[in-house]
């Protein structure tokens, strides 16, 4: 008997050991980023990135707080784009998903297929790019960061449609309509309040997509005044690349922030996600698991 218990304890200890190793592997790289942002610049240049730097320093953050109007601006743009994009996106998604979930809507299969087909086939970057720039003229406008691709996608629509069909009893809608409530009243006052879990899950996923997006800025922006945080980080990164392959011109070197400042900008960029993540963690996990069940 005690052998059996011992065997179990050993089994639990070994799986915990493996998982702790994997957990450390997930976290330590981020820790390296944070530590380098607090490392003295000279130490960083001489000794390289290290988990145990010889000398710490707050210079990078001091510099950021005093100097960087660019960073504040980029931060503001990211916040604005994320807020506007997430709210509009959530509204569009749920307003499209709700009719598709109604069993009494005879054309729902046709429209569901129209939505679904966009997941199977797409025209790719070239036609999209030419349309957005040539026809809608969004190059170097704030809309470039909000509208293309991120606002709504078929996957979220179908996710939400499934939630509505599985969780909202049709009798509830019938009863409300008997009482004389119109479509919009039913939707906004009954359906949405009952669907907070899915709204939170999808909203969070849209929000993360906006916060982390750099591709729209890469395609459609050349004006640095409109750069989001990720675009700013991206430009600094490409300048480093430029420096390491070309003969250094004085101008680029002076424009390039020092290593610790770059790391500090990256830390500031991921901070909101790090801080909010523990609170929203269960919605993420839920989003992944409902997404994997047939859509």
């Amino acid at each position: 008997m005690s052998k059996l218990i011992n065997g179990r304890a050993v089994f639990q200890i070994s799986i915990n050991f493996i998982l702790i190793m994997l957990a450390l592997a997930s976290i330590l790289p981020f820790l390296l980023l944070v530590i380098s942002s607090f490392t003295d610049e000279v130490t960083l240049t001489l000794r390289g990135y290290s988990f145990f730097p010889e000398k710490f320093s707050l210079d990078a953050y001091e510099y950021l707080f005093q100097q960087s109007t660019m960073l504040v601006r980029a931060y503001g743009i990211t916040l604005l784009v994320t807020t506007v994009g997430t709210s509009v996106g959530l509204l569009l998604t749920s307003m499209l998903a709700y009719p598709l979930s109604r069993r009494d809507f005879s054309k729902r299969n046709v429209f569901s297929f129209i939505v679904f087909f966009t997941m199977l086939f797409n025209g790719g970057l070239v036609p999209s790019y030419l349309m957005w720039t040539g026809f809608f003229h969004i190059k170097n406008t704030i809309f470039a960061l909000i509208v293309p691709n991120l606002l709504m996608n078929a996957f979220f629509v179908l996710l939400m449609k499934n939630y509505f069909s599985n969780n909202i009893p049709p009798e509830l809608i019938e009863a409300a309509e008997m009482d004389g409530a119109g479509e919009y009243k039913v939707f906004f006052q009954i359906i949405l309040p009952l669907s907070l879990p899915i709204l939170a899950t999808v909203g969070l996923m849209i929000g993360i997509n906006y916060w982390n997006d750099w591709t729209n800025g890469l395609y459609y922006l050349t004006n640095p005044n409109l750069f989001s945080l990720q675009n700013l980080l991206n430009r600094i990164l490409s300048n480093i690349q430029f420096l390491s392959t070309n003969t250094v011109s004085q101008k680029v070197t002076t424009e390039l922030p020092s290593t610790s400042i770059r790391m500090a900008i990256a830390v500031v960029g991921m901070l909101p996600i790090l801080v909010l993540y523990p609170f929203f963690q269960r919605y993420f996990v839920k989003g992944i698991t409902i997404g994997s069940v047939k859509g």
Partner: protein, 292 residues
């Protein structure tokens, strides 16, 4: 009803359906002075040109080989860690590990490129400065040596995607009927035996479906991973250029619309056929898990 759906449908029309019709651009010899619609038709010239270069072969090979590696290793790792998580006797530990493992997935690929640079930078990177000297190995110019990149990119992909895939498999394992394990226990089956005889067979449909669906998108690469992590370094193109990065560079860095649109159309059409094929196979194997 229709009014309510209108904004969303309009968005899909503009964002998704209109670009689909734009595939015709690949058959034009685009001339900006005439505009896209009035440019001359080029027939299959753009495609002929694309496939006459070695690029077409390199990007196709890279896209497929990387994705195939990602599918195989990613599934193995995801299933293994999913099983480990499900075997934990304390549930709060399982939740804690899930939270931590998912973290890399939430960060933008740019932040991850910064981290990769902190490890790989030639004169200040952790590997060259702190790890290689321990073994007496000379510093390596990571961003100049193409041969290391299949390993680096695969490693980063697995590191980033582990949390996501293990949670999917864990959810599927938690859906398995508990009484199966109880009766196995009574029959004296050990943990290993239970995993091999119950968990894995019950996971099989999920694994098959996810793998087939991944094969359906094997022609699409993760643009961020292949563009940002190698820092767009030209010396690495042989092992880092995939269809997605090729289309982007063709369009915005070299301004070669014909080439970029031909590669894009090639990806769209072959990708579409692969998705249909994968779905067809899923339907044969397990009808309930087919996409449509």
């Amino acid at each position: 009803m229709y009014m309510m759906m209108l904004p969303g449908l309009l968005y899909l029309l503009i964002n998704n359906y209109i670009p689909m019709t734009g595939l015709f651009i690949a058959f034009k010899s685009t001339d900006y002075s005439k505009g896209i619609f009035h440019s001359d038709w080029a027939g299959f010239e753009n495609f002929k040109y694309l496939f006459s270069t070695s690029d077409a072969w390199v990007i196709t090979r890279n896209t497929i080989l990387y994705n195939a590696t990602f599918i195989i290793l990613g599934t193995l790792l995801g299933v293994t860690v999913g099983i480990l998580l499900s075997e934990l006797s304390r549930k709060f530990l399982s939740r804690f590990y899930q939270t931590v493992l998912l973290l890399p997935q939430l960060m933008s690929i740019i932040i991850i490129a910064y981290i990769a640079y902190a490890f790989l930078s030639v004169d200040t990177g952790l590997i060259n400065k702190s790890i290689l000297p321990l073994f007496g190995i000379d510093p390596i110019s990571w961003y100049m040596e193409a041969s290391y990149w299949p390993f680096i990119l695969t490693f980063i992909y697995l590191w980033k995607g582990l949390g996501y895939s293990c949670i999917i498999y864990l959810a599927s394992i938690l859906g398995i009927d508990k009484s199966l394990y109880e009766s196995a226990e009574i029959d004296g089956a050990g943990k290993w035996r239970q995993i091999v005889s119950i968990t894995l067979p019950m996971l099989k449909p999920t694994i098959i479906t996810l793998v087939l669906m991944a094969i359906g998108t094997i022609f699409y690469a993760d643009f961020g991973l292949f563009y940002q992590i190698p820092m767009n370094s030209g010396a690495l193109y042989n092992t880092t250029n995939v269809i997605d990065t090729y289309v982007y560079r063709g369009l915005l860095q070299m301004n070669d619309i014909g080439m970029a649109s031909a590669a894009g159309a090639y990806q769209s059409v072959v990708g579409f056929m692969l998705i249909l094929l994968a779905n067809f196979i899923v339907r044969k194997v397990d009808k309930d898990n087919a996409l449509f």
